[in-house]
């Protein structure tokens, strides 16, 4: 037999086998789509992550998890870092040991009751369970409801201090739930709640809103005290006299400098 005949045989048979394999695959796909069976059993779930607790100075590394709304996400910061990355970096520098961000789970526009629901998710359970430090901001979207649509904020929209005050009794129990759930997920982590500020301090008619914000922060501080291993880092004073310098162009979120100031405070509180 000559070489071309051999080539044809090998080529022909190989291609035919490939064809049969692919036809089997196609048939299988049809069957699986239209007449699915139960499928294989899944491997056992592994145990959720747990924090080691204990004194920080004895630890080789620290884990940080952050949850909450756009402030924790870092919205408005052109460098994209937000306060979370800054806190992690400067904490690592000051404590001279690796500090790891487990996850930044913040979602833009999240409200307190949504966060409470999210806290039941596996991903939150793992990330918070592992952490030594939990950073969070929440409640801003509950109080300043129109915070979603950026542009029109400058006019203040239908926002009024009275309206904010009305929201307060409704929102406070939600914050309580969030604190309680985070604590359930991790009995040893230090919780840092970043307080609210009045982003509309420069509008005369919105100046009284600062009182509402102060009430809210006060309530949060009460929760933190009751918890024992939590604290509230105040931010209400940071932006009042120089709003334009530290807030981003959406007039609601801090800019890079604003986030840097928040992160300085958090690092100070943690030491």
């Amino acid at each position: 037999m000559n070489s071309s005949s051999w080539l044809w045989r090998i080529l022909g048979w190989t291609a035919l086998i490939c064809l049969l394999v692919l036809l089997t695959g196609f048939g299988w796909a049809l069957k699986d789509t239209w007449f699915p069976n139960v499928g294989q059993t899944l491997p056992e779930k592994s145990a959720p992550e747990t924090a080691t607790g204990g004194d920080w100075s004895g630890k080789k590394e620290l884990f940080v998890t952050s949850i909450g709304d756009s402030l924790t996400k870092g919205t408005g910061d052109a460098t994209g870092e937000g306060y979370v990355t800054r806190v992690v970096d400067s904490l690592a520098k000051q404590m001279d040991k690796p500090v790891h961000l487990v996850n930044n789970l913040a979602v833009n526009g999240l409200k307190a009751h949504e966060l409470a629901t999210e806290l039941g998710q596996v991903g939150y359970r793992n990330a918070i369970g592992k952490a030594d430090i939990v950073l969070m901001t929440i409640g801003g979207n509950d109080l300043f409801q129109i915070a979603q649509d950026g542009g029109s904020l400058i006019e203040g929209g239908d926002l009024s201090p009275e309206l904010l005050l009305e929201q307060l009794p409704e929102t406070e129990p939600r914050l309580e739930t969030v604190f309680r759930k985070v604590r359930e997920l991790n009995p040893t982590a230090r919780i840092i709640y970043v307080g609210l500020y009045n982003a509309f301090y420069d509008l005369p008619e919105m100046r009284p809103a600062s009182e509402v914000v102060a009430k809210w922060n006060d309530f949060a501080y009460g929760l933190a005290k009751a918890d024992g291993n939590a604290t509230v880092v105040p931010t209400y004073d940071l932006f009042e006299f120089s709003i334009n310098r530290y807030l981003s162009s959406d007039h609601f979120h801090p800019n890079a400098d604003g986030y840097a100031r928040i992160s300085d405070r958090i690092v100070q509180a943690l030491q």
């Binding site: 044809w8 080529l11 490939c18 064809l19 695959g25 048939g27 699915p36 979602v107 998710q121 649509d149």
Partner: protein
């Protein structure tokens, strides 16, 4: 029948001697290492960031996509896609299954998913586009047609040859991909579970029919579906090759159609009737993944029917024209 076999034998060797298949293998051998290297770099940096904790990486993907959902600048169609993705990823996380275990099978599966709309058709066209037209441009068609063989048999032998090569190309792509990526990611992963059966219903993903299959089975099903879509492309290319004299013209026509299909699939969701075009329906392996189809109302059955109709029509045209046309020049 022996006659037919001899014709197929002849055609197969002709394609082989023209080194078309060798070129395809060469392209694969250059491209796959490039992608493997890129993927390696990506996974290195993610392992560094997440300390090889896939759960927090997965949660991070979920959070990122959720955040993208809250932006007003993202078109509604993309949101639908992301919403489905978030729900799928959440399903994986809830069942404690890593959707992207780092191994050669996962890489192959992802590579095949990404190559079904452009890369595989391109390779198939390298063979299909000049199957008939090259005989005409070189003049050998006259030799072929003056033999005492019916014309439809000649075209049939070309079709069978094409089928054989398409099968060869799909399997070779998967195999080379597996062999090359295994060097970096390890050759395991056949038994890892993958979820199939997600059903996109409006904004929600129905998880009632979801069940796990092994990655090996998934790869087999996926290759089968990719083969079907590659076959339809090659049959239509065969038709163009019968109709057009120049190989370059037939290749460019097909390639333009395929590329138009991928663009349309990305933007045509408001032009509903685009779903009857074959080139929007080529990504049939996406139904296994459960990603939302480009246009509302498309299902695996629908896409297969559309592809079958286009394929059948192309065959009818090819055979009618080829048996009737005059050969002049």
């Amino acid at each position: 029948m022996a006659n037919m076999l001899a014709l197929i034998h002849n055609e197969t060797l002709k394609v082989w001697k023209k080194k078309r298949f060798a070129v395809i293998v060469l392209i694969l051998m250059i491209l796959i290492p490039v992608f493997v290297y890129a993927q390696m770099k990506i996974s290195q940096s993610t392992t560094e960031k997440f300390h090889s904790d896939w759960r927090s990486e997965l949660q991070s993907r979920i959070t990122d996509n959720t955040n993208a959902l809250s932006s007003d600048r993202i078109p509604e169609e993309w949101k639908k896609w992301r919403r489905a993705l978030v729900q799928q990823l959440q399903y994986y996380l809830d069942h404690d299954i890593n959707p992207q275990t780092p191994n050669a099978v996962t890489f192959t599966r992802t590579f095949m998913d990404n190559s079904v709309t452009l890369f595989i058709p391109l390779m198939v066209l390298a063979i299909a586009s000049d199957l008939v037209s090259s005989e005409r441009s070189t003049g050998t068609i006259k030799m072929l047609l003056t033999r005492p063989v019916r014309r439809w048999r000649i075209l049939m032998s070309k079709l069978v040859t094409l089928t054989l090569y398409v099968s060869l190309i799909v399997i070779t792509t998967a195999l080379l991909c597996y062999l090359v990526s295994g060097l970096v990611f390890g050759y395991g992963g056949w038994g890892e579970p993958v979820f199939v059966g997600f059903q996109v219903q409006g904004a929600d993903v129905n998880t009632n029919g979801v069940h796990a299959v092994t990655q090996g089975v998934y790869l087999l099903m996926q290759s089968g579906l990719i083969w079907v879509s590659a076959m339809v492309v090659s049959i239509i290319a065969l038709m163009i090759s019968v109709l057009v004299r120049s190989t370059a013209a037939s290749f460019v026509t097909m390639m333009a159609t395929i590329i138009a299909g991928t663009i349309l699939a990305n933007m045509a969701s408001s032009w509903k009737s685009a779903k009857y075009l074959f080139n929007v329906n080529l990504d049939i392996s996406s139904y296994l993944r459960g990603t939302p189809p480009p246009i509302e109302g498309m299902t695996l059955g629908f896409s297969l029917a559309i592809l079958a109709i286009w394929g059948a029509a192309a065959l009818i045209v090819s055979f009618t024209v080829f048996t009737k046309q005059d050969i002049l020049n």
